[in-house]
């Protein structure tokens, strides 16, 4: 018999540790936001907002994606993970660095703790990137692989620039404005890491989940080159000349790349055999809408910035929250329940399958909690963004309470899945 892709016994602990820690970070993020709601109407370059942004980008988004990558890379690239030991070392360094960095930002102590945090994070991210590269290097290049490897390169570059910014607080060696580098750092992270990685992974998973019969991979190739070309041009031009009218053009190139990806997704959706759309996929589609809204805000940021209008800061906060609390959060809140139950199910039920009645992976998720999570997330979107738009601290506060409830419900469901007790089968 020919061998098939088998779950490595060391994979389970590595993956679920990432999922659990990420869910805890998400709850911590929601608590931090609730205690800093008044800061959201001020300038985004505020110690507590920097702490919150890094908790969102690293503790919530990146840590979850690391876990999902360890689980999905062997599937997408059809090979074994290069090293589990490197995965663990990366996780320990990443978490230690994250705690130090977030603590230092929150209290704004740009000293040894912040510097060590930055270096630990950079090392953890570098080890992750190395693991991905070594895993994928022996496989013939496919577009998904190109997306994932390029995303890792952008992530390492983002972390390197972030670490330099940390040292720049103390030693001020950058010749240009710190905020200019902060913009580059943020967009390398948004478009280079999150966007490329999500496009690469989703383009493999969405057709699988929807059972799509017609794929248009040409749109993915366009997406890859447009996003990278737009981002590289933006980073180079903004570094040399600062934010200017050309930034809109480079932004439009990235948006064209995103549109290509969404056309690919549309074809997958249109040709799907699986007609029933479950809640995790609905969460995913909400995330696409929020990404579209975030992109819609970009021209307003640039035009207000060029006019030196203070509304540029408000639009930047709106954009940042739409990216992290909207797009990335909604995507993870849904996709967790398309991936995590499977690795737990394999551990508990693989050897029992075919012997009688056993639960399916989706049965491991508490569907009532998931429904509640989805509904409250929609309430959060409505109240929080209405609050930002009308500058209403009450609505922002209500929205953030909803966000905390969503985080607690999500954490509860992750814990329920991880501590699932195998049910007795009926033979």
């Amino acid at each position: 018999m020919i061998s098939v892709g088998k779950q490595h016994p060391l994979l389970y602990r590595l993956v679920v540790s990432h999922y659990l820690l990420s869910a805890i970070c998400f709850t911590a993020l929601a608590v931090m936001l609730l205690f800093s709601s008044d800061k959201l109407s001020g300038h985004y370059f505020h110690p507590q907002l920097l702490a919150i942004t890094h908790m969102a980008a690293l503790g919530w988004g990146t840590l979850m994606i690391f876990g999902a990558c360890y689980q999905l890379l062997p599937v997408i690239l059809e090979t074994e993970l290069y090293s589990y030991k490197i995965g663990w070392i990366s996780l320990v360094m990443f978490i230690s660095g994250l705690i130090l960095l977030v603590y230092s930002f929150w209290n704004f102590e740009p000293g040894i703790h912040m510097q060590c945090g930055g270096l630990l994070l950079l090392t953890g991210i570098g080890l992750f990137g190395m693991n991905v590269f070594m895993t994928s290097r022996k496989i013939a290049a496919e577009i998904h692989q190109e997306f994932i490897i390029t995303a890792c390169i952008w992530l390492v570059a983002t972390a390197l620039l972030g670490t330099l910014l940390v040292f720049n607080f103390r030693y001020a060696f950058f010749q240009k404005d710190h905020l200019l580098f902060l913009k580059l750092h943020a967009h390398m992270g948004f478009a280079g890491w999150f966007l490329l990685l999500i496009v690469g992974v989703s383009s493999k998973l969405i057709p699988m989940f929807l059972v799509s019969t017609k794929l248009k991979p040409g749109f993915l190739t366009w997406s890859y080159y447009l996003i990278n070309a737009g981002l590289l041009s933006f980073v180079t031009d903004t570094y040399l000349f600062g934010l200017n009218i050309r930034s809109c053009f480079f932004g439009a190139i990235v948006v064209a790349g995103i549109a290509s990806w969404l056309i690919f997704v549309f074809h997958c959706f249109h040709s799907r055999l699986r007609k029933v759309i479950d809640l995790p996929i609905k969460h995913t589609f909400v995330s696409f809408l929020l990404l579209g809204t975030a992109l819609f805000v970009i021209p307003f940021i640039i035009s207000n910035q060029l006019k030196a209008d203070p509304w540029a800061i408000q639009y930047t906060t709106l954009y940042g929250t739409l990216i992290f609390m909207g797009w990335i959060s909604s995507l993870i809140l849904g996709q967790t329940f398309k991936t995590l139950p499977f690795i737990v199910w394999i551990k508990h039920y693989q050897h029992l399958a075919g012997k009688g009645s056993i639960p399916m992976p989706t049965d491991l998720v508490n569907s009532k909690i998931l429904k509640l999570q989805f509904s409250i997330f929609l309430v959060f979107i409505g109240t929080f963004y209405a609050g930002l738009f009308y500058q209403s601290s009450l609505l922002i506060h209500i929205g953030l309470i909803c966000f905390l409830i969503v985080a607690l419900l999500y954490l509860a469901n992750v814990v329920i899945i991880l501590f699932h007790k195998p049910q007795i089968i009926e033979l």
Partner: protein
């Protein structure tokens, strides 16, 4: 999937094997592997008491591949323990969505 040859002498057991395999579900889609079109052939030799099955997966790196194959082996062991059983995983022809039966498409929510 080819329909069972009702004139064949192995038909009764072969039909039972195919029926039994309908309890093996694709864990993601919740559809049995017969309607998914994953089973290519079932050969039953009642004299030699043997069952030989050729099947495939939706992709060589299907995350549920091991689960599905072990479920097939568990199923055959449970219901046909008096037979010798052989499960061959084959990749040619590659599985495609066209192999999903009409019943399978209905289970996916198609009219």
């Amino acid at each position: 999937m080819t329909l069972p040859d009702i004139a064949g002498k192995e038909t009764a057991v072969r039909t039972k094997v195919i029926d039994a395999l309908r309890i093996v579900l694709d864990p993601e889609l919740g559809i049995n592997i017969i309607d998914m079109g994953l089973v290519y052939s079932v050969e039953v030799d009642e004299e030699k008491k043997s069952i030989e099955l050729d099947m495939t997966l939706s992709s060589p790196a299907c995350p549920m591949g091991t689960s599905i194959v072990s479920a097939v082996e568990n199923c055959l062991t449970h219901y046909f323990d008096q037979f010798t059983r052989s499960v061959n995983l084959v990749w040619e022809p590659a599985w495609s969505y066209e192999r999903i039966t009409e019943e399978g498409k209905q289970l996916l929510g198609n009219e």
